[in-house]
């Protein structure tokens, strides 16, 4: 496998007929190095799943270049370089969980044994159950086992934790961290931004088929300069509020339910001003922008 796990250049994908086409991806450029954990974020219909399908060779770009692990996407999959979980997949009928994992292990010809994988995803006790009779969350864990079969160097996961309970979600990310420690590259889509913030070293935001932001979580959040300082003042006369309004960094001051809310670009200076104002603040809260705020702001700007 080359150093570049994913290399996309000016990739365009369109849906529809010759007479009426809908662009799904527009000139997407993306390079992901080995070992990165990248979250693909964006609203529904942004093109995240389409991008996953291109990376797996399920969809061919109308134009542009797509290379995965130094190969064409389809070849990378058949070479066992890629493991994937997709939203649009199901399970084989009339087969037990254990048989299914053993079958996929056999197709890979190598990789970890089925029992170890079942244990890793917590399905050992359900190995004899029909795969299609598992609950939604259990099926998702089984799909993770299938994705991990063959020890792929690149994992492409489309909303992998959608049906998982919090405990299973924790175990899921623990599994992936283990893979990452072994050098695997992980690319995942999610609408749970806390997961992206916790797991991804890099975030790629897609909107209407285009990449609108690409960077670390910290860098994306830093795009939003303002934070909120709020408190319940014991003394909040007009003069004090006016003084706070002109304090360093303060962008605006609002009052809500007895609290004063100051939007500021400089939390430290604003806090100093609040205490210096003599307003005698109680229950002081500082709310810094989250990844969700940053994404929403980006999407609003692009709109």
């Amino acid at each position: 496998m080359s150093e570049q796990a994913i290399h996309l250049r000016r990739v365009c994908v369109t849906y529809g007929s010759r007479h009426r086409t809908v662009p799904a991806l527009r000139d997407v450029d993306l390079d992901i190095a080995e070992g990165e954990a990248v979250a693909l974020l964006g609203p529904n219909g942004a093109g995240k799943t389409t991008l996953m399908h291109v990376l797996l060779g399920i969809l061919s770009p109308a134009s542009g270049l797509a290379r995965v692990a130094g190969h064409s996407p389809r070849r990378a999959v058949t070479a066992g370089e890629v493991g994937a979980m997709l939203q649009s997949t199901g399970l084989m009928r009339q087969i037990n969980v254990g048989e299914l994992v053993r079958l996929v292990c056999a197709l890979h010809g190598s990789g970890p044994d089925a029992d170890r994988l079942l244990n890793e995803v917590g399905l050992t006790d359900l190995a004899r159950r029909r795969a299609t009779r598992l609950s939604g969350g259990q099926q998702q864990r089984l799909k993770l086992a299938l994705a991990l079969t063959g020890q792929p160097r690149l994992l492409l996961l489309d909303e992998p934790t959608a049906a998982l309970d919090p405990q299973a979600r924790q175990a899921f990310w623990a599994s992936l961290r283990q893979r990452m420690a072994g050098g695997a590259t992980v690319v995942f889509t999610t609408h749970l931004l806390a997961e992206a913030q916790a797991f991804a070293s890099r975030v790629v935001v897609i909107r209407a088929g285009s990449v609108i932001a690409d960077g670390s979580v910290a860098a994306l959040v830093a795009r939003l300069p303002s934070a909120e300082v709020s408190f319940i003042p014991e003394k909040a006369d007009e003069a004090r509020v006016a003084a706070l309004r002109s304090a360093a960094g303060v962008v605006s001051v609002a009052s809500q339910g007895g609290r004063l809310i100051l939007t500021t670009t400089d939390v430290d200076a604003t806090l100093a001003a609040v205490y210096a104002s003599g307003a005698r603040p109680r229950d002081v809260r500082i709310i810094r922008p989250s990844l969700e705020d940053a994404i929403n702001d980006l999407i609003d700007q692009e709109s």
């Binding site: 797996l56 399920i58 999959v77 058949t78 070479a79 066992g80 890629v82 493991g83 994937a84 997709l86 649009s88 997949t89 199901g90 399970l91 084989m92 009928r93 009339q94 087969i95 048989e99 079958l103 996929v104 056999a106 197709l107 890979h108 010809g109 799909k143 299938l146 994705a147 079969t149 063959g150």
Partner: protein
């Protein structure tokens, strides 16, 4: 590919739908129309000829279930997409499905032939048993290609209707269930070009040691096999599409 086909065949055998419509129905029809209510009107070769016909009928449904119905359902369920995320290529997947379907054609042949011996004293030299079974099983390859074509044409619940829509007319007009000479002339005219008639005629003429236009039936079978295989190859790219 072999491993996938064998696992798939085991799963298919667990399907009540396959067991009932391919094996149990063929066996029950054979027993009913030969041992329970003899419809042969004293024809000494009737139980042998009907044995071949029901073996072809069962193998037809087995191959259709193994290939077409299962392929269409797997495309609809999204299993096809899931398995193609492994090193199994679309071509190998379709080859495995074809092998599964061909294996699925065998149980009905064996069960009905066993019943012919056990209940109706059908007796053939061992070499001829093997040859007749071989004709029925080799002939069922046309049902395999037909099944793959159906599984690529339709998916989800629709595939069962399409498969049954092919199975019933071809089985009935091909004289697998009832002798075609009892049909009106308009219906009877179809049987001369059907693959079901061809396999039945080839098997029966060998089992009863009669001559019956072998070359013509072989040409008809080959034509059906080529046409359906060409159709399946033409639609093979659909295997990566899913209805989910």
């Amino acid at each position: 590919m072999i491993r996938y086909a064998l696992t798939d065949a085991v799963c298919l055998i667990r399907s009540m739908y396959f067991l009932i419509f391919s094996v149990v129905f063929s066996a029950a029809f054979y027993v009913m129309f030969t041992a329970v209510a003899d419809q042969g009107n004293g024809d000494p070769g009737y139980s042998t000829a009907y044995m071949v016909a029901m073996a072809v009928s069962g193998s037809f449904f087995g191959a259709l279930t193994g290939a077409g119905i299962r392929l269409g359902i797997e495309r609809g369920d999204g299993w096809t997409r899931q398995i193609l995320l492994t090193p199994l290529t679309p071509a190998r997947y379709l080859a495995a499905k074809s092998l599964t379907a061909w294996l699925a054609a065998l149980p009905a042949i064996l069960v009905v032939f066993g019943l012919g011996t056990a209940l109706n004293d059908v007796s053939l030299p061992i070499g001829r048993w093997i040859a007749v079974a071989g004709i029925c099983w080799t002939g069922s390859l046309v049902f395999v290609t037909m099944g793959i074509l159906i599984g690529l044409l339709s998916s989800g619940d629709a595939v069962q209707f399409v498969a049954l829509g092919v199975f019933f007319p071809l089985a009935m007009l091909g004289g697998l269930w009832f002798p075609t000479d009892t049909y009106p002339a308009a219906l009877r005219s179809f049987d001369a070009v059907l693959p079901t008639t061809a396999i039945r005629e080839l098997g029966t003429s060998l089992a009863l040691h009669t001559s019956g236009g072998v070359a013509r039936w072989v040409v008809i079978l080959a034509a059906w096999a080529l046409l359906t295989a060409a159709g399946a190859v033409g639609l093979a790219s659909r295997v990566t599409r899913t209805t989910r």
